[in-house]
């Protein structure tokens, strides 16, 4: 009986193709939007989670400027000096490395190719703390660091776009006004959680950076990587203690620097992404509601149109419950069709969007299943009232209707 109802429903849908499509549009758009948004949002969350590991494991970053007071490293903040970095290097226990660094945007030129990239001055420990790998060559040495040699390490984007086919190792790259010899190429990290290309980077000895690029000896941040994740809180406290001492922050005064746990920042970003996804999906769900009302409307029209048919069915032995089932099945079949089309549309959009936004395209079967059953539920809910109206028709009245 149920199968007969499904066949009958499919036949009705086929008979009114255009009307069925228009009716389904609401469901299609609603399901499509939810699927696309949830899939993209999931992709973005996955990406943030993946970026979290790329940031370097167990990393704490100290920056000048009081915590929660404007952007870190603001112009009025007292910068770190090499004394601060040295104090941390000698004072901290249980850490893999302490990496002071400074940053500046600058133009790099090789041959006829130029690119604006982020220039970082650092020590070799930087590559360990930030979890960088080398695809070619190696880091500059400790002696290069001490001497302030004209050497540098480049990111994948530079190898691809600036060197464009030329093996960069041993080549001379002009950074700002400074020519430097490339000693290594870093493995690709891709986009950061903050949306910038982490591979558009040049890393050189901190001393060379201070002399030739920045023109001062400021250190913009000190990254500390702990050996064990459990030690992060105690190391964070030690960093604060040591920096307060070297920077002569009086007791009772606030820190004039901040120490942040990068994993926490990434986790916050990830949850922000989830909230955004949730909100957008809620908006999309409203269109599902509208779609449901469309279904109810067209089912009511259908019942009115087929009053005579219902009368015939009741006269030849259909029970009211069977008529109810038939119209409910029709509404559910209609909605499930809309759901299927919507899922296909949503996944298609998500695949396009994922390529565009450069987030991974991960289809979650549970979301697809949920959207499918949700559209069925909409059919049940919004189909019930029209179906009940059909089932309650008086057969004599119904047969009299033309």
């Amino acid at each position: 009986m149920l199968w007969e109802s499904v066949k009958l429903a499919l036949r009705t849908v086929r008979r009114n193709v255009l009307r069925s499509i228009l009716t389904l549009l609401g469901i299609v758009i609603g399901v499509g939007a939810v699927i696309a948004l949830v899939t993209l949002g999931q992709g973005a969350t996955d990406k943030v989670t993946a970026d979290l590991s790329k940031l370097g494991s167990n990393m704490l970053i100290a920056r000048p400027g009081a915590p929660q007071q404007g952007p870190p490293g603001g112009s009025d903040a007292r910068g770190f000096t090499s004394r601060d970095a040295e104090a941390l290097q000698s004072g901290l226990r249980g850490v893999r490395g302490v990496s002071p660094s400074a940053n500046k945007q600058s133009k790099v030129v090789f041959g006829s190719n130029a690119l604006d990239v982020s220039i970082t001055g650092a020590e070799p420990v930087y590559f360990i703390v930030q979890d960088w790998t080398f695809t070619a060559g190696s880091s500059f040495s400790e002696s290069d660091t001490r001497a302030g040699s004209n050497v540098c390490v480049i990111g994948e984007t530079l190898r691809r776009d600036v060197f464009a086919g030329v093996d960069p190792i041993g080549q001379v790259l002009r950074v700002g006004t400074m020519p430097c010899v490339v000693t290594g190429v870093l493995g690709a990290k891709g986009q950061s959680a903050f949306g910038s290309d982490q591979d558009a980077t040049v890393v050189m000895p901190l001393r060379s950076f201070h002399r030739r690029i920045a023109g001062n000896t400021r250190i913009s941040s000190i990254a500390v990587s702990t050996i064990a994740a459990e030690d992060m809180a105690s190391v964070q406290a030690s960093i604060q203690e040591i920096l307060r001492e070297t920077r002569r922050v009086r007791e009772g005064n606030e820190d004039d620097f901040s120490v942040r746990d990068m994993t926490q920042i990434a986790a916050t970003m990830s949850s922000t992404t989830s909230i955004m996804t949730g909100l957008l999906s809620a908006v999309a769900a409203v269109s599902l509601l509208v779609g449901g009302i469309g279904i109810m409307n067209i089912m009511l029209v259908s019942v009115a149109e087929r009053t005579r048919e219902i009368g015939i069915r009741l006269a030849i032995g259909a029970l009211a419950s069977q008529v109810l089932t038939q119209f409910l099945v029709e509404a559910v079949v209609l909605c499930l069709l809309g759901g299927l089309i919507g899922i296909a549309l949503g996944l298609g959009l998500a695949a396009l969007g994922a390529g565009f936004l450069q987030v991974p395209f991960n289809v979650s079967p549970s979301v697809v299943l949920m959207a499918f059953s949700f559209s069925g539920a909409i059919g049940l809910i919004f189909g019930f009232f029209p179906a009940r109206r059909a089932a309650r028709l008086d057969p004599i009245e119904a047969l009299r209707r033309e």
Binding site: M1, E309, I312, A315, I316, G317, A318, L319, P395, I396
Partner: protein
């Protein structure tokens, strides 16, 4: 079906009344009807428009309820049954043929005939065989896959009769079955009904206003103003 008074008749009406409207607008469509129908009868119900014959037919078909009176079918008090029980009674014992044929459009003849069996939950192969049998009983072999629009009025009414008898009912209720047909087709349909009555012992109740159609019946009942004014067996 063992409850109720033991009656010989298949259908019995005792003082059946059907009142429409309230107060001053009250109209008695049936003003106290007594009627007994035995199994195997072919009854023609006649009367002018508004005489109450259609109302009587609707009550006989368990499509409508009387306002008062007793209606027993096979000894069961039908007035006490709820909608669902009456639908089951229709399904199990009654077959309907209408003036306007009332076939489902864009649905083949055999699918129309199978429809009552689908609602009875019969398996596909079985109902297909029964439907084919009913189609051949009404002389429509080879038309199984035609849709109503591809059939003549007479053929459509035959399909409707096949649909009514496919479930092997006790009673066939025909409401002006020849009303939409020309004279020749009308006589064909009446001969078919007569044949079903004689050969299968099917009890037939037929509403008609044409005397030459009523002549096929074994008994003629005339309604006027909500009452039976004449009830006679066919002259032998």
């Amino acid at each position: 079906m063992t409850t109720g008074p033991k009656l010989q008749s298949l259908i019995s009406f005792r003082n059946i009344r059907k009142i429409y409207g309230e107060g001053a607008a009250r109209v008695a469509a049936l003003a106290g009807v007594d009627l007994d129908i035995m199994a195997g009868e072919f009854v023609a119900i006649m009367g002018a428009s508004g005489s109450g014959k259609s109302t009587a037919m609707n009550i006989l078909g368990c499509l409508d309820r009387p306002t008062s009176g007793d209606f027993h079918f096979q000894g069961v008090d039908v007035t006490a049954l709820d909608n669902n029980a009456r639908a089951l009674l229709r399904r199990n014992y009654l077959g309907f043929v209408f003036q306007g044929f009332n076939l489902l459009a864009r649905t083949t003849a055999i699918e129309n005939v199978e429809l009552p069996l689908i609602y009875r939950g019969m398996a596909r192969a079985e109902r297909h065989a029964l439907a084919a049998e009913a189609m051949s009983a009404v002389g429509l072999n080879g038309r199984e896959n035609h849709t109503p629009s591809e059939l003549s009025g007479g053929q459509q009414q035959r399909v409707a009769i096949a649909r009514a008898i496919v479930s092997n009912p006790l009673v066939l209720l025909a409401d002006e079955p020849t009303g939409n047909l020309d004279s020749e087709r009308s006589h064909d349909i009446m001969k078919l009904l007569q044949q079903l009555n004689v050969e299968k012992g099917l009890t037939i109740l037929m509403v008609t206003h044409e005397a030459d159609m009523a002549a096929y019946a074994t008994r003629q009942i005339h309604f006027a103003d909500g009452r039976i004014i004449e009830d006679r067996a066919r002259a032998a």
